[in-house]
C-alpha cells in the first residue's frame, strides 16, 4: 500500500515538454530517500491542461504542480513527499485559495464546467496496466452483455435509445449504423475504428488512445457482438507513436486476460483486433478511403452506395466509428441509455471533446456537455485570449469546417446549431483567433491543406480546390478584383455539390463561412489593397519611425536577411525589397519604433 501516488502526464504534449525526464528524476530522488515502497509514480494519459505542461498531481492531497522542470523534483520529493509540505511556488495558481488552503482541481475554472465521459480515465489511470481500467468498471459493460445474454438486437436498441451520434464530425446516429450492418447477412463482417485524426490542430482521439486505450477495445468488442463481426481493425496514424505503442500493449493485455480472442466470457463469442498504420493522408479519414487504405492500396474514396454497412472492408459489411464515439459506449451500457440521453441537448446527446488551441490561455483538451455555449468554452474554460487582444472568431471542424465570429459567441455547441451557422462540429478541433489573424489568410491556409490532400480522383475537388487557392492567392497579394470574390463564391457551391466524397464536399466551407461573416475583409484586400489584420505579407510593410528610433542597432543585428541599415545612434531604414516580413525587428525593438503598414 502506497501512502502517496504521483501521477505524471505522459501524453504527447507533456512528453514533448520533457515529462519523461521528470519521471526518471522522480524515481531517482525517491529511491535516494528510500521512499520507493511508500510513493508510487504513475505515468498517465493526458490531463487536458496542455498549456501548463509538464503536469503532475500528487494524491492524496490532490496537489497540482504545473510546468515542472527536472530540477524542481528534488524539492518536491524532499518537501512534499518526505516532509508533507506543499511546494507552493509550483502549484497551479488557480488551485491556491490562500496561504494555507488549496482547492481541488475540479473546482478550477478549467475543469468546473467540464463533464468527462470519453475522457473519464485520461490522466487518472496508467493506460499500460489493464487492471487499472478494470478497477474503474472496465470490461464490465461487455461482461454484462455477454454473461446476461443480452441479445444483439437489444444492444443495438440501447445504442439507438442513447441518441449517440458519430463524434468524427458528421454526426450520424451510431445505433443506425450498427442496425444496418447487423441486418446484412454475410460469412464475415468487420468492425473498424477510425483513429486517423487528420484535422491539423486536433488531438482528442490521440489523447483517448494514449490515456484510455481499453475503452476503445471494449467498445469495439461490443460493436462486434452487436453486428456479428469477429474481426476488428484500428486504423491509426503512424505519426502517433505513443498511442500506437499503448494500443498494442492494451490489445496484448486484453488477449492475455481472455477479453479478446476466442470464447470471450465463456459465451462462445469470438473477437480479435489488429492495428493498421496510416501513412499520412487526410482523405483516409473518409470511410471508404480508410477501408481501401487498410487493404494496402492508395487511399482513394469510392462512390456510395453501396454503403460500408453493405459492402465495406474487403467487400464485407463493416461498421466504422471514430475513437471518441467508441470511448462513450461502455459508459452507456453501464449507466443506461436514459442517463446518456439526459446529458446534452435533445438532438445531440452526451458530451463532446474539443482540442482548444490557437490564441487562448488554456490550450488543451476539454470535454463539455453538448449545448454548452462557445462563450463558456472560450472565456471560462479557456481562460480568454492572451495579452491585450480580443476574440475575433473560433474555427471548428478544421479544413472541413467554418468559423464562428464573435457576434455568435453565444451559439450553443451542438451538431445542428453549428450547421445552421455554416460551420460544423467536425472531429473537435477548436482554434481560437484574435484580431491579428486575417480571415482571408486562414481560408487560404485551409485551401492549401485541401489542395495538398485532395486525392485527385474526382475533378471538382482536384481542379476546383486548386482554382480556389489561386483566387485566394490573388486576393491576399492585393491583385484581386471584386469579380474574383463572386467567382470564388460560385466555384465553392459548384465544388460542394459535385465532389465525390466528404473531403471535396466540405473543402469550400472555410471560404464560404469567412465570406459570410468577414466579407468586408475580402473587400478591403481587393479595393483598398489592405489587410485589416496586418497578416498578409504582400500587403504589409515594416517601416521604421525615425522619431522613435534611437539607433540601438538591435533590429539590424537580428534581421535574418540584412535588410536593415543605419549607423549607431542614427535612425535605421528597412529596405522593403530585401525584407521578408518576418516581424523579428518589430518584436525586438524596445522603443516601438517599427510599425506595420
Amino acid at each position: 500500500m502506497f501512502r502517496s501516488n504521483v501521477l505524471v502526464c505522459g501524453g504527447t504534449g507533456c512528453t514533448s515538454s520533457n515529462s519523461e525526464a521528470i519521471i526518471e528524476k522522480l524515481h531517482e530522488e525517491i529511491n535516494a530517500k528510500g521512499l520507493e515502497k511508500e510513493v508510487n509514480v504513475v505515468r498517465t494519459g493526458c490531463f487536458g491542461l496542455c498549456a501548463l505542461g509538464p503536469i503532475m498531481i500528487v494524491y492524496p492531497e490532490g496537489a497540482f504542480y504545473s510546468m515542472v522542470k527536472p530540477e524542481d523534483i528534488p524539492e518536491i520529493v524532499e518537501e512534499h513527499l518526505l516532509k508533507g509540505r506543499l511546494v507552493k511556488r509550483l502549484l497551479y495558481k488557480e488551485t491556491v485559495v490562500d496561504d494555507s488552503t488549496t482547492k481541488s482541481l475540479n473546482q478550477t475554472a478549467f475543469y468546473e464546467k467540464q463533464m468527462r465521459i470519453a475522457l473519464r480515465n485520461c490522466g487518472v489511470i496508467n493506460p499500460e496496466v489493464i487492471d487499472e481500467y478494470i478497477a474503474l468498471d472496465g470490461y464490465q459493460a461487455i461482461g454484462k452483455i455477454l454473461t446476461e445474454k443480452i441479445s444483439p438486437e437489444q444492444v443495438i436498441q440501447t445504442m439507438l435509445d442513447s441518441g449517440l451520434r458519430g463524434r468524427g464530425g458528421a454526426g450520424f446516429p451510431t445505433g443506425m449504423k450498427w442496425k444496418f450492418a447487423a441486418a446484412n447477412a454475410a460469412d464475415q463482417k468487420y468492425v473498424c475504428c477510425n483513429a486517423d485524426e487528420g484535422d491539423p490542430g486536433a488531438f482528442m482521439d490521440r489523447s483517448i488512445l494514449e490515456g484510455d486505450p481499453h475503452s476503445v477495445i471494449e467498445a469495439m468488442t461490443i460493436a462486434g457482438y452487436a453486428i456479428g463481426a469477429t474481426q476488428g481493425y484500428i486504423y491509426i496514424r503512424a505519426e502517433y507513436p505513443i498511442a500506437v505503442k499503448r494500443l498494442q500493449i492494451a490489445i496484448n493485455q486484453a488477449r492475455e486476460y481472455g477479453l479478446l480472442g476466442k470464447n470471450i466470457f465463456d459465451s462462445g463469442f469470438d473477437f480479435d483486433l489488429e492495428l493498421r498504420l496510416g501513412a499520412g493522408a487526410f482523405v483516409c479519414g473518409e470511410e471508404t478511403a480508410l477501408m481501401t487504405s487498410i487493404e494496402g492500396k492508395r487511399g482513394e474514396p469510392r462512390c456510395r452506395p453501396p454503403f460500408p454497412a453493405v459492402k465495406g472492408l474487403f467487400q464485407k459489411p463493416t461498421v466504422l466509428n471514430n475513437v471518441e464515439t467508441y470511448a462513450n459506449i461502455p459508459q452507456i451500457f453501464l449507466h443506461g441509455a436514459e442517463w446518456f440521453r439526459s446529458i446534452g441537448t435533445e438532438k445531440s446527446a452526451g458530451t463532446k471533446v474539443f482540442a482548444l488551441g490557437g490564441k487562448i490561455n488554456n490550450t488543451g483538451l476539454v470535454e463539455v456537455p453538448m449545448g454548452t455555449t462557445l462563450r463558456t468554452v472560450v472565456e471560462e474554460i479557456g481562460g480568454g485570449i492572451p495579452g491585450d487582444h480580443y476574440f475575433k472568431a473560433a474555427q471548428t471542424g478544421g479544413p472541413s469546417g467554418g468559423c464562428i465570429p464573435a457576434s455568435l459567441i453565444d451559439t450553443p455547441i451542438d451538431y445542428d446549431s453549428l450547421l445552421a451557422i455554416g460551420s460544423m462540429m467536425g472531429s473537435g478541433g477548436l482554434i481560437v483567433m484574435d484580431e491579428t489573424t486575417c480571415m482571408v489568410d486562414i481560408a487560404k491556409f485551409f485551401l492549401e491543406f485541401t489542395v495538398d490532400e485532395s486525392c485527385g480522383k474526382c475533378t471538382p475537388c482536384r481542379v476546383g480546390t486548386k482554382r480556389l487557392l489561386e483566387i485566394l492567392d490573388k486576393i491576399t497579394s492585393g491583385k484581386g478584383t471584386l469579380e474574383d470574390i463572386d467567382k470564388l463564391e460560385e466555384l465553392c457551391y459548384y465544388i460542394k455539390e459535385n465532389s465525390l466524397c466528404g473531403l471535396g464536399q466540405t473543402a469550400p466551407n472555410p471560404v464560404l463561412s469567412t465570406l459570410k461573416f468577414f466579407r468586408d475583409e475580402y473587400i478591403a484586400h481587393v479595393t483598398e489593397h489592405r489587410c485589416p489584420a496586418g497578416a498578409c505579407k504582400a500587403l504589409t510593410n515594416y517601416v521604421v519611425i525615425a522619431d522613435k528610433c534611437k539607433g540601438c542597432t538591435l533590429c539590424a543585428r537580428n534581421c535574418p536577411v540584412g535588410a536593415i541599415s543605419g549607423t549607431v545612434k542614427q535612425p535605421h531604414v528597412i529596405d522593403t525589397n530585401k525584407c521578408i516580413k518576418c516581424g523579428v525587428c518589430m518584436d525586438k525593438c524596445k522603443f516601438n519604433a517599427i510599425e506595420k503598414r
Binding site: G13, P200, E295
Partner: protein, 164 residues
C-alpha cells in the same frame, strides 16, 4: 500533393540491401503488402529512392506503377533523403495561428533550402509537417527526436547553433 524527387545519387550498402530483401521475403504473398514494405524500406534507407521501389515491385510481384502510386500518395513516404538533422516544423492550424509560418521563413532564410529539401552537405533537411499533436506548445518544431515548443522566429538561430 506534389512530391519532390531526389536528384542526388543513390548509395546502397550490402547490409541495407540484404535487409530490404529480407523484408520483401517476409511480406511476399501477403494481402496489402505494399504499404508495410514501403514503411520498412523507408526505415532502412531514410527515404524511398526509385531503385528501392523497383526492387519492391519486383520482389512483391506487383507493377512499379502500383508501388509508385502508393509511395507518392501518402505524405509520410519521402522520395528525398533526410539530412543528419531532420527539422520538421509543424504547420497545423494551432501552430499556424501562432506564427509558425514566420518560424518557417526564418528556417528557410537561415538554411538556404526550401521545405522538403536537404542542404548540400547533407547536414540539415527541412519539412513542413501536419499537426504533431503538441498544440499546447505551439508553435512547435522537432529536430530528429528533440522537441522545441513555444517558439519565436529568432529561437531558430539558437536551435540551429546547437547542431552546427
Amino acid at each position: 500533393m506534389q512530391k519532390r524527387i531526389s536528384t542526388l545519387p543513390f548509395t546502397d550498402t550490402p547490409e541495407q540491401h540484404q535487409k530490404l530483401l529480407d523484408v520483401i521475403e517476409r511480406l511476399k504473398g501477403q494481402k496489402g503488402a505494399v504499404m508495410p514494405a514501403l514503411q520498412e524500406a523507408q526505415d532502412i534507407y531514410g527515404y524511398l529512392p526509385i531503385e528501392v521501389q523497383k526492387e519492391i515491385a519486383r520482389g512483391l510481384d506487383v507493377s512499379l506503377e502500383e508501388v509508385y502510386g502508393v509511395s507518392t500518395f501518402y505524405s509520410q513516404f519521402s522520395l528525398t533523403p533526410k539530412g543528419k538533422y531532420h527539422i520538421s516544423i509543424c504547420l497545423g492550424t494551432a501552430c499556424y495561428v501562432k506564427g509558425a509560418d514566420k518560424v518557417l521563413d526564418r528556417l528557410i532564410a537561415k538554411l538556404g533550402i526550401q521545405a522538403e529539401e536537404c542542404t548540400a552537405d547533407g547536414k540539415f533537411s527541412l519539412t513542413a509537417c501536419r499537426c504533431i499533436g503538441a498544440c499546447g506548445l505551439a508553435p512547435v518544431l522537432t529536430v530528429n527526436d528533440d522537441v522545441y515548443g513555444r517558439l519565436a522566429p529568432e529561437d531558430v538561430d539558437t536551435i540551429l547553433a546547437k547542431y552546427e
